[in-house]
Every structure is written in structure tokens, then in C-alpha cells.
Amino acid sequence: MNRLDVDNLLDDPATRVLVCCGSGGVGKTTTAAALAVRAAERGRRAVVLTIDPARRLAQSLGLRELGNHPRRVEVDGFEPAGELHAMMLDMRRTFDDMVWQHAGRERAEQILQNPFYQTISTSFSGTQEYMAMEKLGQLVAQGEWDLIVVDTPPSRSALDFLDAPQRLSTVLDGRLIRMLSAPARAGGRGIRKIVGAGFGLFTKAVSTIVGGQLLQDASTFVQAFDSMFGGFRQRAQATYDLLRSPGTGFLVVAAAEPDALREASYFVERLSAEGMPINGLVANRTHPVLAPLPAPGALAAADRLERSGDAPLAAAVLRVHADRAAVADRERRLLARFTRAHPDVPLVGVPALPADVHDLAGLHEIGRRLAGE
């Protein structure tokens, strides 16, 4: 198996941005944080951009205050040679900042009060992904860190992260919104003639469903936004380019489970199709056997001991071992299947910690396991 050398990756000064992606529930946030901790320990000035960290993990990184800017993390107990900074994405704030930065005061206030803006800046599917990329762009532009580790939003599919910004920009930048908003500008007539009866019916249906007011708000918003930024599409394109630039790499995080590995496979294929560099797969929370003892023999011995009732401790220990060997075996088979399909993708298994991780010592330990120590 082609083994992923995490230390090598983290030590390489050419590694500037590491994007951790994968489906929900696989431990992306923890992995991203542990990578940043490890990088800092090894001398880099690292920052981790987390999206939606668990409360206690956020506390351990000093992320309780919403600042939407990186803060230095004070590390007790073990010494980083470099520096560790961390931040938690505030999606609404990032969007607001974008507006303030690019619009005059009056126009910015107008946009911020638009009901449609309030909807899309908080609950539009794709806004979180889009803002994560926007923030990443800002951190890169600031140039204060030599390694940026990015966590990605907890979408149902790893691919959402690549597609959402594009989808959002298509919706807001596309022909449709112009056509739908045309009546507002042209005084409510004309659209039927231009695009035909089907579309007229559709417009009518849409405004019946979502309400004419919403359409009008959307239209006002898009016009203001358009003149301000030169369009969503360009902005989304810029983030895409950033992801393809030298120095950016992707780590796919997966659990050693069929669903998560299937998602990981899709993502690997997609990244290659887009010409984006994939650094490797992190197989999170594996359960390798710690004692080289064949499971069938252990089970037979456990049976004997249980029948005789002589050595309950040894019997229990052998059962624990056999359970673990079965899990390890399954995980190995699943990972081998992934490697057969993607022989070029280096892989590292990260043995599970028995307890949840929510402090720096835990992240340090995961960092060690990532590096195979």
C-alpha cells in the first residue's frame, strides 16, 4: 500500500493550503485541527479554518468568541516550534464583510437590509461552502501564515463543497433571474413575448408559489450585487482557480466504512477530473490489532476457558481480541478495495482513540497517529 507521509507533506514549504474534505461524520474538523497542531509543532506558522467545530473542541482551540479572524492558540504541555492559529467561520459575518468592503456605505446598508439577502446569507444551500472559500481566499491574500489547513462544511456529500459555490453563482448570475426580474424593470410586460408561453406560465407559477415580493427582492439584490462585484460567477471562478493553484492540496478524510469510502472515491475521481492535486486519503478511526495473535485460535481458547470457568479475565481478553481482529480485518479489506481502485492515492490509517477528542493533548495525539508514530 502506498503510504501517505503526513510529516513530509506538512514539512514541505511548498505546501501552502491543505483542504480536508469528506462526507459528514468522518472527523474532518478534528483531522484538520490535528494537522495544524502537528504542523505547528514541526515549525510552521499554521492556521486552521474550522467550519462547525464541536463545542468542546472549539473551546480547546480558544474559539469561543466569535471573531471571524484567526487567533493565536496558546499551547500548554507540549511545545510547538512554530505557531498555531485557529478560527471558526462565521458565515453571515463573512458575507456582511464582503458587502461592507465592496460597497459604499449607503448601498451596503441597502443590501444588508434586503430580505432576500438575509435569506441567502444564512440559509441558502451553498452559502456556507461559498463563504468558506471566500475566507480561505482572504487568508491566502493576507499572507500571514505559511500553512493554511481548511476544514470543509458538513455537507451530505463531499462533492457539495466543489459544486455549491458554482451552483449559487449560477442561480444568482444566470439568465433566469434576469428574465424573472425583467417584469420588475420593464413594468411587468413583455416577458411572455420574449421567451414563450411555457416560461410565462412558469413565471406566473413561481410568483404564485414564492410570492412576487420575494422575486422583486431577489432582483434588487442581484442588481446591487452585480454592480458591486462584477458578478458571482467571477468570484466563484477565482476560488476555483485558487484551489487549482500550486501549493494547494486536498486530503480526503473517510471512515473505514463502505459509505464514506464510496464518497471518498467519487471525490478522488472528481478531483482528478478537475486537475486538482490530491495528496492522499486519511482513513480515520481504524482499529488495528495491537497483539499479533490469530483470531481463530484466540476464539477457540476463549471457548475452552469459558467452559471451564477457570480464567475469566483471559477469556474476556481473548473475546476482546477476536472482536477487534474481525473489525480490523474488515477495515483492511475495505481500504484495500479503495487502493485497488485508486492505486496512486497514498493512504494513512489513523487508529481510533478510545475516547472523544476535545483538547489540545488529544489533537497532539491524533497528529502523532496521522504521522504513523
Binding site: 444551500s125 451530505r156 411555457g198 410570492g211 471512515a255 495491537l290 476457558l305 483471559a314 472482536d323 472523544d356
Partner: protein, 330 residues
């Protein structure tokens, strides 16, 4: 509380949610099989365009129609439906505006995608609307077409927003066909016909998320049903030795002697590995106990499902369904 209740037996719409990675789709499928056991007809619905049901039952992606995917013991059957919001919107528009052929053109133009993303609530209203239609649909002889509908719902973080149709409608038009339709959905979701089940693992994070979701459901006046504790592993150590083993105290010499009495002479390295594994096991069991205590705060009927080391295939779904039937699911 342990096992299924009579109140849950009366529910006809079973919404299944859980934190990502807890096995929500697997539990939803097993629940559908369990409910169908003994000759009933159950519809299993998914709404997130994941084709998770097709993958679980090892089939080609489901079309937008109700397909038979499994027989249940005792003559029952499970059908499956992957609701696609675009198709659901076209269905509505067709019903009220007779779009016919034009609908396909609109789809090609991306107009449907546009409408369903323009108003975030619209998508959810369409999806829950379709579910309601399935629950209420009449079949033969004055009975419902389906005895029960199981919905593989969005994960806990999004489920209340998804089910809170009243709030979604606040964003939408105050009149029109969707408005009328949604009132029926609200009635169904807040009635005794609906139960929202939560899938959890015995780990702190999924349990906390479950408790948060229960509180959110209560606040939105939606009814939490049962908690399915998934992937439960058997404790191997006797309860009295858990605490000391978790603290790292495993008597290596006693272990060595015990192994020797079963004919296993092990090297120090193997012995050390066995001790480490046992300590990890004990730590995990302790954490699971804490998670269980925490979960008890939800005060909901709880059903445990065993971990399947060989993974989940169709045969395993039947196994899980049997476990559920054994816990009273009907």
C-alpha cells in the same frame, strides 16, 4: 424506557433522523422491513438525492416512482421512493397549471432548480408534501395504500428546519396551491400519526446532538418517537473490572497464567498488545455507559441494534429488522 410502545404502533409516518455517520439510512430500512413483517405494506422514502436506499438494497438507482424493493417475512412488502424536488415541483405545477410539455423545457433551462433554490423553504415543502400524499393516499377497500411510511430524513442538524413547514411557508406566498397543500402537511406532521425517531451511537457527540434535536423537536411541537441506539457492541469484561481496566490496571501475570491454562503461551509483546486492547475496550465501555446515562435524559423509548462486524448487506437488514420485531416494533 425500553422497547416500542403502543403509541408508536399507532403512528403511520415514521421519520428517521440522526447525526451523520450514525447509520440513519440503515435503521430506516430495517424499520421499514420490521413494520412490513406479517403482511403489511410499507413505503420507504428518501429525500436527499443520495440514492442511499438503492445502495443499501444493492439495486440500480431508484426512479421517481414507488418500486417494490423487498419482501418482508410473513408476506409483507417494502416499496421505495426517492423523492426528487424537481419532479415534485413539476407534479404540482402540472396539477394546477397544466404545464404538460412545457415542463420538460423548463427543466432543461434549469428553471426548476432555480425556483427550488430561490426560496429555501420551497424544496422542503415540496418534499414533505409528497410524503404526506403517500401517507394519506387511499388504497383498496377503504384502507390506506400504505400501512406505514418510513422517511429517511435529513440529519439531526437540519431535520427540524426540514419538518417545520409552518416556518418555511412564512417565506413563501400567502396564497395559492402550495399554501393549501402545506396546511395538510402541517396537520399530519404535528399529529399522533407522525413520530420522529432519532438514531444515535453510544458516543458523546451523537448523544449530545440527539438531545439537542429532541429539545428542538419539542420546541417546534413535533413529536419525538424512539431513540435507536445503533452499532452496540457487547461488553466483554465483567462489569466489576471495567473501572480498574479503564484506569490501565490489567493484571498481566494473571492474564498470562490464564492464557497458558488454555494452551496459549504468548510472548511479552503479544501480552502487552492484549493488555492495551483490553484497556481501550474498557475505556470505550465506560464512555458508552456515560453516553447511555446522558441519553436517558431524553426519556424516550430506546431500542438497541447490534454492531454488525461484517458490514451491512441485504441479509443484515433482515437481521436488524428481526431484532426490531423482537423489541416490539409492529
Amino acid at each position: 424506557m425500553n422497547g416500542w410502545t403502543d403509541e408508536l404502533t399507532r403512528a403511520r409516518l415514521h421519520v428517521v433522523t440522526g447525526k451523520g455517520g450514525t447509520g440513519k439510512t440503515t435503521v430506516a430500512a430495517a424499520l421499514a422491513l420490521a413494520l412490513a413483517t406479517g403482511g403489511r405494506r410499507v413505503l420507504l422514502v428518501e429525500v436527499e438525492n443520495r440514492q442511499g436506499i438503492a445502495q443499501l438494497f444493492d439495486r440500480a438507482p431508484l426512479p421517481y416512482s414507488e418500486e417494490r424493493i423487498a419482501s418482508a417475512p410473513g408476506g409483507g412488502e417494502v416499496r421505495a421512493l426517492a423523492v426528487d424536488p424537481e419532479a415534485a415541483l413539476l407534479e404540482y405545477l402540472d396539477m394546477f397549471y397544466n404545464l404538460g410539455f412545457a415542463g420538460r423545457t423548463l427543466r432543461r433551462m434549469g428553471a426548476i432548480e432555480f425556483a427550488t433554490t430561490l426560496a429555501p423553504g420551497l424544496r422542503d415543502v415540496l418534499l414533505t408534501g409528497k410524503v404526506k400524499e403517500c401517507v394519506r393516499r387511499a388504497g383498496r377497500a377503504g384502507r390506506h395504500e400504505y400501512d406505514a411510511v418510513v422517511l429517511d430524513a435529513p440529519p439531526t442538524g437540519r431535520v427540524v428546519r426540514f419538518l417545520d413547514v409552518t416556518r418555511a411557508m412564512a417565506d413563501l406566498a400567502k396564497v395559492g396551491p402550495i399554501k393549501g397543500q402545506s396546511e395538510g402537511v402541517v396537520t399530519l406532521l404535528h399529529s399522533g400519526d407522525t413520530a420522529v425517531h432519532l438514531v444515535a451511537l453510544l458516543e458523546e457527540m451523537p448523544v449530545r446532538e440527539t438531545l439537542d434535536a429532541v429539545a428542538e423537536l419539542d420546541a417546534a411541537d413535533l413529536r419525538p418517537g424512539a431513540v435507536f441506539v445503533n452499532r452496540v457492541r457487547p461488553p466483554r469484561l465483567p462489569a466489576r473490572s471495567i473501572a480498574s481496566a479503564a484506569a490501565g490496571r490489567v493484571d498481566a501475570e494473571r492474564l498470562r497464567a490464564g492464557l497458558a491454562s488454555a494452551g496459549l503461551e504468548v510472548a511479552d509483546e503479544v501480552l502487552g498488545g492484549l493488555v492495551d486492547q483490553t484497556v481501550e475496550h474498557a475505556v470505550r465501555v465506560r464512555m458508552e455507559e456515560q453516553a447511555k446515562d446522558l441519553l436517558a435524559e431524553a426519556d424516550l423509548p430506546t431500542l438497541e441494534l447490534p454492531e454488525l462486524t461484517d458490514g451491512v448487506d441485504v441479509a443484515a437488514l433482515y437481521e436488524l429488522a428481526e431484532v426490531l420485531v423482537g423489541r416490539g416494533v409492529r
